[in-house]
């Protein structure tokens, strides 16, 4: 066990993946609490698919992946939020259309240029090798910005999550905060996508919040628990990925699933007791 950890930390790519990944896991979990409670999970899913499309295009045109993806995914966040605010029912369908279309564009562009290689698989399901040294600075700064903004606007985010109408009647600019949540989510998805994989990053947003809600009853506790749990699961997932040579994203998701199972059982037992 000790050997494994020493080997793990001796690789600089692992250290990079852990550093960026832990920050992403933390931010994703915090934003996830709000997204899940606002019934906006679909937005996270849609954004990750758009992210995949832009990454694929950037890769085939040999452009810097983050720099291309961030503005486009931000734009998508703006659009998706508009769609889901304007009409709830048709909104779901519209987001599904945007998701699958972006995925299709990404796959076709890749097939026509570089071909379906191992890189593509990594983009979809995550790779511990994904973080290049040059990506780390940008990723860490983006994650830090997200974290600071979330903490700074924590009370307001609670208010628009719990009861948007009340907040708006009290004079809060709820549209601004909804947009803030969507933008921060977009940033975290782009940054986390290459470690977690485009298909799996949205689970990093949804799982910890759902898990924490099984057991905890106040917004603050749910947020703190989701954040800690997310970081813990991410770390364990990466260790598995390293030890068993499984895709990073998929491993992290499975650890999250296990945590959810445990918390679900605890919640049930508590209710019975």
């Amino acid at each position: 066990m000790f050997e494994l950890f020493r080997e793990l930390f001796s690789y600089s790519f692992v250290n990079r993946a852990l550093l960026v990944g832990i920050l992403v896991a933390l931010c994703a979990a915090l934003l996830g609490v709000s997204l899940v409670l606002k019934r906006y999970s679909m937005i996270g899913d849609g954004l990750s698919h758009v992210g995949f499309g832009t990454l694929a295009v950037a890769m085939s045109l040999n452009l810097a992946p983050l720099q291309v993806s961030i503005p486009i995914v931000l734009l998508a966040a703006f659009l998706l939020l508009r769609i889901s605010e304007s009409s709830r029912i048709k909104g779901d369908a519209a987001i599904a259309l945007i998701s699958s279309s972006s995925l299709a564009v990404g796959v076709v562009v890749i097939a026509m240029t570089v071909g379906m290689n191992a890189d593509v698989c990594n983009y979809m399901f995550g790779s511990i090798l994904a973080m290049k040294r040059s990506d780390v600075y940008l990723s860490v700064s983006v994650a830090a910005i997200v974290l600071v903004l979330f903490i700074f606007f924590y009370n307001k985010i609670f208010a628009v999550t719990f009861d948007e109408n009340f907040a708006k009647a009290g004079g809060m600019k709820t549209g601004v905060y909804n947009m803030l949540i969507a933008f921060l989510t977009a940033l975290i998805i782009v940054v986390g996508m290459r470690i977690m994989g485009a298909m799996l990053i949205s689970s990093l947003i949804i799982f910890p919040a759902l898990t924490a809600m099984r057991v905890f009853n106040s917004f603050k506790r749910v947020a703190v628990c989701a954040a800690l749990l997310s970081v813990f699961c991410f770390f364990i997932g990466i260790v598995f990925s390293f030890a068993l040579d499984t895709p990073a994203g998929a491993s992290v998701v499975l650890v999250n699933l296990a945590a959810f199972g445990i918390f679900f059982a605890i919640g049930r037992i508590r209710k019975l007791a």
Partner: protein
């Protein structure tokens, strides 16, 4: 005292058509207005317009001596809210946000005010409990405490007693009566016409347009009022 709120020919339109059409009325500070009417008659829409959530398609809502962020609003509960993981204190404190300016955290004063409303509504015992574990009546008290954190002038309530059993509902009415006696202006949408007429000082009967507006005594004597009250006396009018 003068008018605290005036609606001038307010019309509100959804893609499906007018939900509120050409409604005019005014109330004074200290009034207790009940808005009654059938399901789908535009009560919620009108209240949301007064709360500043919806822009009227025509006409305007004028507030006198109350800024928009001094309006306390108790919306109809959404199903999502009933299972929301939040403590009572978290919910009540959020009532201070519209007033708090730019500070990211609650001040001592915010917390003291929230505590004050919590004790006024007699929910100290559940202050740290989870909102989702409370009964319907307790949840309404918590939401009322939150609304009172936001206002000491104008309180808007949308069917605050729906889903409550009669005893709990009458306690809530008593609390509202008390608040009104202390000078708080109240506008309440209600499906319970009898109580509306018992406690309210004025009644607005909606049917997309205004069917009746006036004092509660005149309403009881009017055609519209007799029809509604007759219905409830008949026993089976919980549908209104």
């Amino acid at each position: 005292m003068g008018a605290i709120l005036v609606c001038e020919s307010v019309s509100v339109k959804y893609d499906t058509g007018f939900a509120v059409e050409n409604v005019s009325f005014g109330i004074e500070a200290g009034d207790y207005l009940c808005i009654v009417g059938e399901n789908g008659s535009g009560k919620t829409t009108l209240l949301k317009t007064i709360a500043g959530l919806i822009c009227p398609a025509a006409g305007r809502v004028v507030l006198n001596g109350v800024r928009q962020n001094e309006v306390g609003y108790l919306p109809q509960q959404t199903p999502a809210q009933k299972d929301f993981p939040a403590s009572v204190m978290e919910v009540v404190l959020s009532g201070r946000l519209g007033r708090g300016g730019r500070l990211p955290f609650y001040t001592k004063r915010d917390k003291a005010l929230a505590d004050g409303e919590i004790s006024r509504l007699d929910i100290e015992g559940i202050k740290f409990d989870s909102y989702r574990s409370l009964s319907g009546g307790q949840q309404q008290r918590v939401l009322l405490a939150r609304a009172l954190c936001a206002t000491d002038k104008l309180l808007l309530l949308d069917e605050p007693t729906s889903g409550l059993d009669p005893l709990i509902a009458s306690e809530l009415y008593r609390i509202l009566e008390n608040l009104n006696e202390r000078g708080l202006t109240i506008i309440m949408v209600s499906h319970d016409v009898e109580s509306a007429v018992r406690y309210g000082s004025k009644v607005l009967h909606m049917q997309t347009s205004k069917l009746f507006f006036g004092s509660q005594k005149d309403y009881a004597a009017s055609d519209a009022g007799r029809r509604m009250l007759g219905n409830t006396a008949g026993g089976g009018a919980a549908y209104v």
